[in-house]
Symmetry: D3
Subunit: 324 residues, 6 copies
């Protein structure tokens, strides 16, 4: 488990009775933080050297979706490159990519792996890696279209790479469940299993339309802690909230616990207004087990990037005690 | 007619040229007013003992919909129970209820009747009663699915209970008109008549997609004053506004007047942003005929509860003078 | 139970291995059987005097839907009136009726009751009665819109009239389950209960989209035998087949058995082609318990009227032995 | 080219790195600026006498859409008539008009021509003219339904009147391209040519769903400068942004340049919230070639009217340098 | 009025009680009548020299839609060219044409005019002419997209060419009314008026979804006789039937009579089965006033070409006596 | 290449001018050919021992979809087992299967591989194998949902198994293109490439909505001959026709030729009527290169199984000479 020393953090406000709380200076990254950007959101962060590196979704002012590298000393103040990531061929010839969005990043063994929603005849899961966040390599897509929210586990499971994903269609998909797939080599994928389905409306309506994994799963004493987004279709469109589940350590297609209430839902003005109102969408988290701290990165209203905090032990207890 | 002594009230602001005006301290009930709640809105209030009682829609953080009792001395500051209403069997065995929302409350003869949208194989009209807001009894549903916005008249008409409702389907219904039905016994219902249809787009577009009755009808010298919500489908979803009509006292399926302009439409930030933007939805009103005061309770953005005020006589004149 | 003497009948063909078989001279009523008609289908038949009477859906060449009385000596050759039924006011003032279709007829106590799909601000269940099939009286509609396939039980249950129906919406409804409701007086209706839902696609796809009751339920030793139509949505539209269920005699919202396979599905050219291809839709049956004969009337392709036969005992066995 | 002396203007804020910037006192016209109005937006302005005249879309509180004349000395502070424009018959008998919205105004030769979306069996392009903004004449509709966003060129081209428009359907159209048509006499129209289609999602997603011309084209050294709105369909509805293109002076169906990035997109609270969130919709512009100034009028959130400014030369350079 | 000598004809069968009857040898043109064809239907015929000429919609086996010339001595047996019509530029440069279908042909003054549904950024009305059915000239499209069923009147009205058409959208349009437009020169079109709308479902359901003009209008003593198709949307798709109306001779946007019942509806196997079942679609008629004969050409099931006959006087009487 | 000795065959009828022709005794398998069946169609056949074996889609009378083994001496007269195939675990633990349909069968190296549409949280590609058509083994599904029409190549390509498939969604998909994927081991799949997209409506409308591979590809001197189905969406639903393409032998994602016209389209009564009218759907072919004969098996109207024949050389020439 991670034991970061300089984890971004802010203590819980008084009178706050929820398990997670927002950073008081949200959003941490403004929509116009680089010259070309229309919006910066749904982005991934990992510890890197003595600080942090990240891969950021920056839609430009033509609303072209692409991913950019960035760096930070404290995990809160970021320098994002002004040019998108340029990939070299990785484990295959170069793959077409009409667009790239919603990245996740994870260190496995010797390198940082990046997954994202890759536009190849529709959305599917793109895979790449880097050793240094300067030189990037693009690999085979994991799956056929149509798929989104591909999230790798931070270590091999039973000797194989493992990835969560959400099969879908090619529009504003009105359904979607979380599956797991395995690969011996990051090139060929199989052993697909269903992990979590949407919840019944009567039991947990915030996650009754579609769900998708968020940050890299965190290994805890209880199993894999997986933050995910859940969607309800209101008469005025989709509303994205955040929950968490705990999967079995060795058989991660088995759900041990899953939050019936949401952990966070859109409530602040920067979450309620923007390019797509009422969306909070987590893509990364950093934590220190020793300090019992977790910092969550999430996109707000498909426009800006924000943070929230919580104590790891309290989040786990909440999921166990409020399980669907 | 009611002549409440301690009716909640705030004088019309200067420079206000509309018939109704908002309470300056809106919203009166915050989304997190009880520990479990995600939102508190679309709720019902009646005079009770020396103050007020109410039945409140509180969606919890799993976004489960249920109704809760609450009490207030002045009709503005409320204590809402932390547990939902628990019903005993009323005039039948217990009815299933997957969810309950959008309550209305009315005193008839010897007790307080409550109607709400009851989840029984889809939405239909649930009926219950209480004598004291402590012990509650649930009766037969009024109708087959699918129906919403069941609103009882405050006295029998021609010897029968009378209820307004809005037949619909089982989704985010894109149509809906107001009907009236009668019952000799609050158990068997019949004599269904169409009362009001949506308005033509060209004449009154704010109410061209669907309409539904709001608070309990108020008997005036002109007939039954019925506040209702009207919906227009914009390219960004439904927008809910408030109008009023006047029905014949003895033949309430006859519409005497009906407001072509709305009385109120979403305009304040707590109405324009929230879980469902651009919704104002009235479920209750209290009034004093003697003081010529009316206080309206409405849900805002499916998130919080707000109030508005108006002079009863001016509202009636407005509906008569601006009739469709 | 009925023990008709002159029940229409034709023996099972050799090599037929199904429980029900078609009349070899189908269709029994041609689409142009009366001068004004475009199609005659989905019609109801009852024993009357020394022969049979019926209420027929005849769409005219303007494709206006209306119901017509008709008479037959043998139940197969019919004289249908050239003018639609003209109703007088029954237990209420006259009800509007934009259209009438899909009638059912049943004798209870002292008269023949007719139900049909009545166009009153959308489809709902119309009710009427006659003593002689010459003079007809129209009563209150049973329910608010939107409803279809209202089918009365042939005797009171626990002292009340009982009706099956299928709540729906106002278009080509893509969903629909069967409910039961009760009335003390054929005017006010309540005690609504869900009886049967559509079947899961994997278990019985022919009835996975919507279902609706057909002929008047038949009381047997096992309970109420209810023929019903089931619908599957193919990529080329709806396909209507016929199944049967057996309901508890005294608590008819309890399903004892329900056919997983269909009893009949569209297969003959007069069922596969016509105004609406691939529809068989039963609205009436006559039977003799003593002779163990049942004759079923059904509409074919929304165009013509056809018959099928079966042994009552074999049908009951089939439903019991192939229950979902 | 226009060389207005008193063009409305505000210098670019420091630290602003975009080509266009908003007026700091936006919105310039409030939703309730005349007594009857629910919203005032998507309106047209022209230089007139020593100041400005305009034609304003004011939806009233019945949400009826109509157009109103208004006057201003400085182009920013407006007096709008309290009654809608009343038309007399122009080049034909009077045309029905169920509603009027989204006007444009242009001076050609001897008079001011007005076009708007006219409700004639659905939306089409209405045409009228005035000499003095007191007396107005209505002409033949330009086209059959269904059409919107009819925008005249400010002078004849090859001896004919020329109009941009966007054929569509009769709902919240999910597609739409810009065409040009010609007329010898403002009565008969022909020579229809396709000018601009929506952009591929991968190249310029903000304009991938539909596009429509905005203000009157401006003749520059490079050709006709045409501001237009572009729409992207998000999972929460349509988002309207603003771009520009440059058409060939003599063959205006030829697009020389077209902005791949937007010039402006919804970002301020008065653009993100209102009757239809996330809409900015330009209908008029005034400019001074000599002073290199352009002032753009646009509706915000279908609720209020706002302004933005830019240097004409910089806008042209931007479109040339960032062409799709 | 036409007084053809060799009009195709077959006497009414005995026992036929309808105004029109089918040719006993239908279909007259098989789907594979030319080597490349998949289907030949919805085609136009005119008297030419001592026989007949026609323009035929032949979809080829790639299901590309195009129009072909053909010739016949008797109007029943046809020789259709194996190559589609090749157009030269007429009153403008050559117009793009992605596809051509559903032609009509009419002689006016000195030449044969052809209209069809022309694929120019979606369907619109193409116009061409020929003097000899050997050399063909293509003119300006009449309208912007989207339009279908453009039908010219056989002579100028008030000095102008006149055309019926049906504005629509770019898919399987679920709505559509008939309009009229005028032109001084077959190039510029205007004075658009609505002629006939769909009928209310309750009054004439066969024509409640969309309608479109069929053959060239026939001038009679009562006015213009216009055959048209009407469509009802069943749960299994669209059903196309045939009716007729009579328009005022000098003001053809005035409907004098319009058939409430259909004249013909799909009933024969070649109409009920084929590429698009349940479609009969008339595009041409020839008649002799003197002999009181009319022969109608119609496409069946979008697959073959068929004929029906009727006495002109009886058809007119039928429309007058059964008017909506 | 195959050189079967007893290939089913019937000579081309005289006057037949198409490349393929139907068997005169079609359908070869009736809908009720086994006692439980509602329909038998979309089935696969391979040479086996001295005759043929097959895997048949038999929907039962509950309309449950499953696959059954069958045997034939001559490839025309079939004995189909009365019980569905029972699978044992193959290269993984047993996979869930809510339903199985549309099988294909191919011999590779040492065994017969079967692919089908497998119901695993929606449709995806199931894989199994058998050595003797008595004992069957089920392997890992090839892909995540949603996918259909998985078709294996009959030998490894560049050392890998290769499969065509059609990613889709979970309903009556209105889109769909053909992709290829590779596997080293029939368990892990990757290197997904797009092979063929739907054709533009203007060029080849019969294949403009969706396409999917049919029988096992046949290696010819020109490359892989792939029969496929193409779909057009008419206003009355989907119409399925048959075409063919030729893929590069070593790089089968490269299309060398593709038929612009269809090879066959629904035209016979058993194709035009049935459970889903207007569907012909090929799943298998057998051929003899030496005798220049090919026999194609296809489902008709989702109801019965039929055959067609053609000379292999003529089919290849047709595709080359009529390439899109």
């Amino acid at each position: 488990m991670e034991n970061l020393k300089n984890i971004p953090w802010q203590e819980k406000p008084e009178n706050c009775n929820t398990v997670m709380w927002r950073y008081s200076e949200n959003p941490i990254i403004d929509r116009y933080a680089i010259p070309s950007s229309n919006s910066i959101f749904n982005s991934a962060v990992v510890p890197f050297e003595d600080g942090y590196a990240g891969v950021f979704r920056c839609d430009n002012k033509a609303v072209q979706m692409n991913i950019f590298a960035g760096f930070s000393k404290n995990g809160i103040d970021w320098d994002i490159n002004h040019e998108p990531i340029s990939f070299k061929a990785g484990n295959t010839e170069m793959i077409d990519s009409d667009y790239k969005y919603d990245p996740r990043v994870v260190f496995i063994e010797d390198r940082y792996w990046i997954t994202w929603c890759n536009g190849y005849h529709g959305p599917t899961i793109g895979i790449g890696y880097t050793f240094d966040f300067k030189e990037f390599f693009q690999c085979e897509n994991a799956f056929l279209p149509f798929n989104r929210n591909g999230v790798l586990f931070p270590k091999k499971i039973n000797g194989k790479y493992a990835m969560l994903s959400r099969p879908s269609d090619n529009g504003h998909t009105a359904f979607g469940d979380i599956y797991i797939s395995y690969s011996p080599d990051m090139k060929y994928w199989g052993e697909h299993r269903c992990v979590m389905k949407v919840a019944p409306f009567e039991q947990s309506a915030w996650q009754c339309t579609k769900i998708g994994a968020g940050p890299i799963p965190i290994l805890t004493n209880e199993g894999w802690l997986v933050f995910y987004h859940g969607v309800i279709a209101t008469c005025n469109g989709f509303r994205y909230s955040i929950g968490a589940s705990i999967l079995d350590e060795n058989e991660p297609d088995k759900v041990k616990y899953r939050s019936q209430p949401y952990l966070m839902a859109p409530a602040e003005l920067y979450e309620l207004t923007g390019d797509v109102p009422n969306v909070i969408f987590p893509c990364a988290a950093v934590h220190s087990e020793k300090e019992d701290k977790l910092a969550l990165y999430y996109g707000a209203a498909d426009t800006v990037t924000a943070m929230a905090f919580g104590k790891l032990s309290e989040i786990i207890d909440f999921v166990k005690n409020n399980s669907l």
